[in-house]
Amino acid sequence: MISLAGRDILHGWGKYMLTGVGLGLLIGVTLSMAGVYRGMVDDAQALLDNSQADLWVVQKDTLGPYAEPSSLAEDSERPIQAMRGVAQAAGVTYLTMQIAHGDEDVRVMVVGAEMGAPGLPGQPTHLVAGRHIVRGHYEAVADVKSGFAIGDRVKVRRNFYTIVGLTSRMVSSGGDPMLFLSLKDAQAAQFQKDSDAILRQRARIAASPQLNPPGNPAVSQAVNAVQSENNNVNAVLVTTTPNADPDAVAAAIRRWQRLTVYTRAQMEEILVDKLIANSARQIAMFLVILSIVSAAIVAFIIYTMTIGKIREIAVLKLIGTRDRTISWMILQQALGLGLIGFVVGKIAASLWAPFFPKYVLLLPADSIMGFFAVMLICTLASVLAIQAALKVDPAEAIGG
C-alpha cells in the first residue's frame, strides 16, 4: 500500500519543509520561554548551591540576606560555631553594585566570603580558570559572565582588585554575576563611605556640641572612630555535621542565639516563591499565551494546507477513497509537520540559548513534554482540517 501522506509531502516537500521550519522557530521561541523560566528558578537555586550552606543565620525577623537587607555582627558566628551539630560557620556579605570595566559599567553582586581555609561556605564552588583568593586583600574571583579576565584590575569603591580566578554560574537571584572578595574587603566596600561623605560627617560631628564638647577634643575623635568601623556581615552561613538534623540545629540557634535561621527548604521558598514569584508568573503567563498562539498557528497552517489541496481530496473521494484514509493522511501530515517543527525548534532554542543575557535552562524533561504537547496540538489542529476535507463534495473535482 502506498502512503498517501508521504506521496503528497514528496510532491511539494520544499514547501512542506519550509512550513515545518517556520513552525519550528515558533516552537523554539516557546521552548526558550520555558527555558527562561527554568533558568530563573535555577539562578535562585544556584545562589543557594553556591553558598554551600545548610543554614542561613540572618538578622532577627528579616528575610535576609537575599530577599531583604540583613545585618549582624561578624563575631556572632563564634557562638554559633560552638553549637552542637555545626560543622562550619562563616560570615558573608552580599552587595549588588555597578563597577566600571573599561568604558562600560558592569552590574555585579559583590560577595565577601571568608578565605581562611578552602571550602568554607560562601566561597566559589569551582573555578573555570585561575586560582582562589590567597592574599587577604585586593584579590577577586569573578564570574565569567561579568566579562572580566584574569589579571584585570577592577575598582570597587576606592580600591583596585586583581582578578585571580574565574568561575561560572555564580549569579545572584537577579542574574547578576558575582564578584568574590575577601570578607574584610567586601565589608569595606559595603560599609565604607566615600571620602567626601566621611569629610562631611567629620564636619557635622565637629559642629555638634554634644559630640564635640568644648574642652574635650577626644570625644569627637572617638565618635569618628566608631562611625568608621564596620564589622558587620549580612548573614552567617552554617554547614551542619553529616549526622546532625539541620532543622534541630536551626531551632537551637533560633532559641539560644536569638537570631532568625532559614534552612535550605525555607530559603528556596523565599527565593522561588517570594523573590522571583512575580517575574516567574509573568513569564508563565507569556508562555501560556505563546502556547495558545502556537497551537492556533499550527491549526491554521494545517487547515490552509488542506484547503489548498481540496481539489485533490475531492478527486480522492471521487475515486472512492475511504474517509479514514483521507483523515489518516491529513493527521500524518500534521504530525510530520509537528515533528519537523519540534526538531527545528529544539535545535534553534539550544543554539540561541547561550546568547541570552540571563541563564536559559533547557531541561530534557521540558523538551519531552514539549514534544508531546506539539504532537497533541497537531492532532487537535488536524481535526479542523479533517472536518473540512470530509465535508468536500466529490463533485468539486470536476466542477469549475
Binding site: L127, R131, V134, R135, G136, S168, L362, L363, P364
Partner: protein, 387 residues
C-alpha cells in the same frame, strides 16, 4: 536514488545530526568540561600578605600641663625642630605679677631678718650689762653693803635680759625661715612660668599644629605634634588564619599605596603580643628605611612577608581543592572515572599552590578547573582551557 531523494537526505540528515548533538552535547546532559593537571613536586615558599599604615615610631604630642590660652605658636607643619626649641607659648596671665609679688615678699623678709639681728645685738648688750651689775651686787653683799633684796633684783634683771636675747634669736630664725619660704615660692612661680613655654622634647619634624594662638586648651591637649622622621614603621595587620610563622626579623616587601610599583624592603621589627580579637588579625610592626621623599604618615601600605621555601613536597593548585560532604579533597581521574580523594593540606604560597601532606601521589591526574561543580557521577570531557 533520485535527485530529489539526495536533496532531501542532504537536508534531513544534517538536521537529525544537529538535533542529536544539541540534545546530548548541550544543556544539562552535556559532559562537564574540565582541565586536568598532574600532582607536582615543588618547593612551596609560603608568604603572608598584610596591610597597614605608615606610622612614626615616636610621636610627641606637646601640650600644656594645665589649662590655658595659647598666645603664640612658633612652628608650623613641616618645620624641623631641635631639642629644647620653643614651640608654643601659653598665656602666663598673672604669673609675672605673682613673681614680682614674691620678689617683694623676699626683700621684705630680708629686712625683717636684719631688724631681728639688730634686736639680738641689743639683747646681747642688755645681758652683758645685767651680768656685770649682778656680779658687782654679789661682791657688795659679801661685804654687807647691800641688802638681799637688791641682790635678788639684780639676778632677776639678768634672767630677763637673757630671756630677751633668746627671744630675739628666735625672731631672727623665724625671719630667716620666712625669707627662704618666700624665695622658694618665687622659684616655684618662675618654674611654672617656664612650663608655659612649650619646647621640643626631642629633635624632629612638626607634623601637626593642632591649635592656633588665642585657643584655650585643656591640660594634656596637644598643641604641636613632632615625629622622628628617621624612625618610621608600618603598623601591619595580618589575617590570623594566615599568620603562622610570622616572626621578628623576617624580611618584608612594602608597597606604598602612592607607589605600588616601587616596593621598599624592610624587616619585621616585632609581632605584637596582643592580637585584635574583633577583626581576627595579628598586628606586627615592619621597619623600613626611608629613601627619597618621606611617605605620608597614615598612608596605606601592603606588606608581603616571604617565608623561606620548605623542602620540595607534593603540591596542587588551590583551584583543585574542594569540599564535599564536610571533607576537603580533590577530584582525581582514575581509569576515566572521577574519584574524590580526601587530602591533608599544608601551607600555601601566593601563587595559589598548596602543599599536599597526605592523600595523593606524584603524577596523579587531578581536575583543576571545571565548568560546573562536579559529582562522582558527572560525565566530563578534558579540555586544554576553559571557558
Amino acid at each position: 536514488m533520485s535527485r530529489r531523494g539526495w536533496t532531501m537526505a542532504a537536508v534531513l540528515v544534517p538536521l537529525l545530526l544537529l538535533f542529536a548533538w544539541v540534545a546530548f552535547r548541550s544543556g544539562p546532559l552535556a559532559p562537564t568540561n574540565v582541565t586536568v593537571a598532574q600532582v607536582e613536586t615543588r618547593r612551596i615558599a609560603p608568604a603572608m600578605f598584610g596591610i597597614g599604615t605608615v606610622e612614626a615610631r615616636y610621636t610627641q604630642k606637646v601640650g600644656p600641663t594645665a589649662a590655658g590660652r595659647v598666645t603664640m605658636v612658633a612652628v608650623d607643619v613641616g618645620d624641623m625642630v631641635k631639642a629644647g626649641q620653643l614651640l608654643a607659648q601659653i598665656d602666663p596671665i598673672d604669673r609675672d605679677q605673682r613673681i614680682d609679688a614674691a620678689a617683694g615678699g623676699t626683700a621684705r623678709s630680708a629686712a625683717l631678718e636684719q631688724a631681728a639681728a639688730a634686736l639680738i645685738a641689743d639683747a646681747t648688750a642688755r645681758v652683758a650689762l645685767a651680768k656685770s651689775q649682778a656680779e658687782r651686787t654679789e661682791q657688795l653683799k659679801k661685804s654687807g653693803w647691800v641688802t638681799n633684796a637688791l641682790v635678788d633684783q639684780r639676778r632677776q634683771e639678768l634672767a630677763a635680759a637673757q630671756a630677751g636675747l633668746v627671744a630675739a634669736q628666735a625672731n631672727r630664725g623665724a625671719a630667716a625661715m620666712d625669707s627662704s619660704r618666700l624665695g622658694a615660692e618665687r622659684a616655684a612661680l618662675v618654674e611654672q612660668r617656664s612650663n608655659l613655654r612649650l619646647v621640643a622634647p626631642h629633635a624632629g619634624l612638626v607634623v601637626r599644629r593642632a591649635v592656633e594662638p588665642g585657643t584655650t586648651v585643656v591640660a594634656g591637649q596637644s598643641v604641636v605634634e613632632i615625629i622622628d622622621p628617621a624612625q618610621l614603621w608600618i603598623n601591619a595587620r595580618f589575617d590570623q588564619t594566615q599568620s603562622a610563622g610570622l616572626a621578628a626579623g623576617l624580611p618584608v616587601r612594602i608597597a606604598l599605596r602612592s607607589r605600588p610599583d616601587a616596593p621598599i624592603s624592610g624587616t619585621i621589627e616585632r609581632v605584637e603580643p596582643m592580637a585584635d580579637a574583633l577583626t581576627e588579625e595579628v598586628l606586627a610592626k615592619a621597619r623600613f628605611t626611608v629613601t627619597g621623599t618621606l611617605p605620608s604618615i597614615g598612608e596605606l601600605a601592603e606588606v608581603t612577608v616571604a617565608l623561606p621555601a620548605g623542602a620540595a613536597t607534593l603540591a596542587v593548585p588551590n583551584a583543585a581543592v574542594h569540599r564535599v560532604d564536610g571533607a576537603t579533597g580533590v577530584w582525581v581521574i582514575r581509569d576515566g572515572d572521577l574519584d574524590f580523594v580526601t587530602v591533608k593540606l599544608g601551607v600555601q604560597d601566593l601563587g595559589g599552590w598548596v602543599q599536599v601532606l597526605a592523600g595523593l601521589a606524584a603524577g596523579d591526574r587531578i581536575v583543576v578547573h571545571s565548568a560546573k561543580a562536579l559529582k562522582a557521577s558527572s560525565r566530563f570531557s578534558i579540555v586544554d582551557a576553559l571557558p
